[in-house]
Symmetry: C2
Subunit: 418 residues, 2 copies
C-alpha cells in the first residue's frame, strides 16, 4: 500500500507511561495503540503481523488434526463452579461482570471448563476419539501489574488447543506431535534458535509439563539451559531435578532470563471427571477422556520478536511475519528528476502488486533521511530504493533491514528477491 | 474434511430454552453451541461460514479504501465520560467490570469514542484525509432479553467502519460509496433481493440515516417497502415522511417485517467536537473532521440467511458462504460393493482436495437415510453421491440443496460444477 494513504505515522516518542521496549517500539512505529495499562489496540501494520503469526500457528494446528472453533468470552458461573475455579480466591485474574438480572458472568481467562462441558455433547464412543479442538480467542486477565507491553496484557488473543484422547498412550502420542508442531511454529516465526523446550512442574497427571521459553532480557522467568541437548529446566523445579537436565542427564546448566511463549500440559482426567466427559470403549465400558492443553499467545510471540530482534534503529521483522515483504522507497528529491523518479517507482510498485507481492510504498513528499529512519523503525526485511542515481545506472538499490548491505540489481532480477 | 473426523454431529433437538429458529437449526446442524441466553460459541462449521461472510465484507471494505484495525474490548471510563456515554442512564447496554485497583472499565458496545480519540494522534492536516478505518471486533451488549438467537446476541462480532472526511461534500461522497459497498455485500451473501435500503431517522447532522433491512418474519422492525424504486422507510419515520417514499415520491408502500442487517450513519462533527479531532486546511485554518459510521453484524447476517433461506429439512446455504463447496456422500451399503464404493469415493475425494475444492466427505458407517437427512440439515449447496448404482453406470450423481433435482454426470465433468 501507499504509505501516504496509511493512516498511521511514526512517532518520535512513546507515551511516557509505557515502560516496555516492545510496546515503545510498536507504538512509535504505528503498529499498536495503548488504550490503558495492559490494553492495546492493533493498528493496520500490527494487525498484519498478528495475522501472519496466527496463520503460521493455524497451519501447524491444522496439520496435527486441530479443528478450529471460537468460544465465547462471556462465561457462565455455573460451569466454573463445577471445577471450583469460579472463586476469586482460587483464580485471581478474573474479570467479572453482571447481567441486568443480577446474574454474575465472568470473562474467560482460559477455556478448559466451557470446552470440556461442550464436548460432553459430542464425545460418546471410542470412535469419537481422539479429537483436538483449538481457537484464537480474546482472553481477559485482571493482572495486578501490566508493565510488559503486549507480552502480558489484560486483554490478549490466545491460541488454546485442547486434546481429547482415549488413554494415556494416545494422549502421549498427541502430546509429542503437539510438541513438534510448537517447535515448527517457533522456528517459522524466527524465534527457533533462542527458544528452548523447558521442563516445568507437571501437576497431578504427569511429572513434567513443557514450556517453550525464549531467551529474552525482558522475560519474567529464569530457566536453566542445557546446551548438551538444547533443552532447559524452569527455575521452579530445578531443585526437584537436583540441578540435572531431565532430558540428557547433563549437570552443565546455565541460567538465563526467558519469556514463556508457549506451554503444553497434561490435564489427565481433571476436567473430564468434573464434567463427566466419558466414552464407551470397545467393550462398552465407560472410560474418562484424557485431556491436554496447549497454549501460545500470538501477541506475546509478536512482542518477543520485537524484544529480541530489534536494534537501536527499530524493529527487525523476520520475513515470515513482516507486515510487508518489501519497503519500496522513492527518493524523488526536489530537482528536475522528481517526476522521472516518481513515475519509475509508481511503475515498479504496480509491477510488484501485480505479482501479489505485498509492498509498502513510501511515496510521501518528505526528505530521504526521514524515509530511511521510518523504514528502519518499521522494520520491513527488504528495502528497495529508487532514485535519480539508481535510474542513471538503470538499476534499483536493494538492502536488508537486518544486515543493511546494499546492492544494485537490474529491475528484471527483482523476482529473485522474493 | 472427512465427516467421521469432524467432532460435531447433528442433533435431533435443540435445547428446549432456544426459541429462535436460526439458533435451533444452527445448533442441531452443529454450527454453533449455546453457552447461555444470547451467547453462542462457533463450532467448526459455523466458524467456516462466519469466515466466508467476513471475507466478503473485508473485500468490499478494502475496495472503498478501508484500513483494518482491531481495537480493544476493555474500555477506559475517562474516554466515554467525555462524550457523556459512560452513564448507564444514557447507554443501557453496558457491561461494566473492574480492575483490582477498583478502576471501573466497560466492555465496548461500539467504538466511536476510542477510535476518534485514537485518530487525534494521526489526523493533523488536510493531507491526512479522507480516511476510513474498520474492524471485525467482538462487541458486548447487556440486552435485557436475548431471544433472537444469533441475530441479537449479548456478545457478537461487529464490522464497524468509521469514515473521516474534510467536509460534508467529501463525507457524502464516501457515504455513497459505502452504500454501494453494502449493497454488494448483501448481494454477494445471497440476501440481495430481500434487502432494502431503508430510510431511517438521521439525527443532528442529516435528515436520514440508512438501514439495510432484510425481509424476515423473525425480524424486529417494521418497514414500508416501495416497489417502485426498491427502497423502504422505517416505521419510526413513516409519519414524518407522510407515508411517501423519500427516494421516488411514491405513495404505494406496503408494510413488511424485516431485520436490520446493516446501517450507515452521518455522525457529523459530534465526536470530532468532543475529542478535538481537527485538521488544518490548505489555508492553515483548523476545521473539525466530519465522521460517518457503518455497521454490519456478520453473525446477524448468518442468522438472517438461515431464517430466510432454510426449509423444513434444514439450512440452505448460498454458495458464497457455504462451509464447504460440496457434500460428498458415499453410499457404501452393507453388501459386497461396500469396498468398491469406499475406494471410488476416497479417490474422488482426493481428486477434489487436490483441486483445492473444499469438500465435506460423509465417509461414516451409517445408513443412507441418515446421511441424506444430515446433509439436508447441514445445507451444503451441492451434493455428490457415489453408490454401487452410480458406479455401475460409471457416473456420479449430483444435486443441489436448493432445488434437489438429481442428475448423473461423468466424473470427468466434475470441474464444471465449481
Amino acid at each position: 500500500m501507499r504509505q501516504s494513504e496509511l493512516f498511521t505515522t511514526t512517532r518520535r516518542e512513546a507515551p511516557t507511561d509505557e515502560v516496555a521496549r516492545n510496546a515503545q517500539l510498536l507504538i512509535r512505529a504505528g503498529y499498536i495503540h495503548k488504550e490503558m495499562a495492559g490494553v492495546y489496540s492493533l493498528l493496520p501494520l500490527g494487525l498484519r503481523v498478528m495475522e501472519k503469526i496466527i496463520s503460521i500457528i493455524r497451519e501447524e494446528m491444522n496439520a496435527i488434526g486441530g479443528q478450529e472453533v471460537a468460544l465465547s468470552a462471556l462465561q457462565d458461573k455455573a460451569v466454573w463452579q463445577k471445577s471450583g475455579r469460579w472463586s476469586d480466591d482460587v483464580v485471581d485474574v478474573w474479570f467479572k461482570t453482571m447481567l441486568k438480572s443480577g446474574t454474575e458472568l465472568g470473562l474467560g481467562f482460559t477455556h478448559e471448563e466451557p470446552l470440556t462441558s461442550l464436548m460432553v455433547e459430542y464425545i460418546h464412543s471410542y470412535r469419537d476419539l481422539p479429537r483436538a479442538v483449538y481457537q484464537f480467542q480474546t482472553k481477559f486477565r485482571n493482572e495486578t501489574r501490566a508493565k510488559s507491553g503486549i507480552m502480558r496484557g489484560r486483554e490478549f488473543v490466545m491460541k488454546d488447543l485442547y486434546s481429547f484422547s482415549r488413554d494415556n498412550a494416545e494422549h502421549e502420542k498427541f502430546y509429542e506431535r503437539a510438541k513438534q508442531a510448537y517447535t515448527r511454529v517457533f522456528n517459522r516465526v524466527g524465534l527457533g534458535e533462542r527458544t528452548y523446550i523447558t521442563y516445568a512442574s507437571g501437576g497431578t497427571f504427569s511429572k513434567y509439563s513443557h514450556e517453550f521459553q525464549t531467551l529474552c532480557a525482558a522475560g519474567e522467568d529464569t530457566i536453566y539451559v542445557c546446551d548438551t541437548c538444547h533443552s532447559a529446566v524452569n527455575d521452579e523445579i530445578i531443585d526437584e531435578c537436583m540441578h540435572t537436565c531431565p532430558q540428557c542427564g547433563s549437570r552443565d546448566l546455565r541460567t538465563e532470563t526467558a519469556v514463556e511463549v508457549g506451554n503444553i500440559f497434561n490435564l489427565g482426567t481433571k476436567f473430564s471427571d468434573v464434567f463427566g466427559l466419558q466414552y464407551l470403549d470397545e467393550r462398552g465400558v465407560a472410560q474418562p477422556v484424557v485431556m491436554g492443553s496447549y497454549g501460545i499467545g500470538p501477541g506475546r510471540v509478536l512482542g518477543t520478536i520485537v524484544e529480541t530482534l530489534s536494534d537501536e534503529r527499530g524493529i527487525v521483522w523476520p520475513k515470515s511475519v513482516a507486515p510487508f515483504a518489501a519497503h519500496l522507497v522513492a527518493l524523488t528529491g526536489k530537482g528536475t528528476d522528481a517526476v522521472m523518479v516518481r513515475e519509475a517507482t509508481d511503475t515498479l510498485y504496480e509491477n510488484l502488486r501485480q505479482r501479489d507481492i505485498a509492498v509498502l510504498y513510501d511515496d510521501r513528499d518528505v526528505q530521504a533521511g526521514e524515509k530511511f529512519a521510518d523504514a528502519d523503525l518499521i522494520g520491513i526485511p527488504l528495502r528497495i530504493v529508487v532514485s535519480a542515481k539508481t535510474l542513471a545506472q538503470k538499476k534499483i538499490e536493494v538492502s536488508t533491514r537486518s544486515g543493511g548491505e546494499k546492492k544494485m540489481i537490474d529491475e528484471k532480477e527483482i523476482h529473485t528477491l522474493f
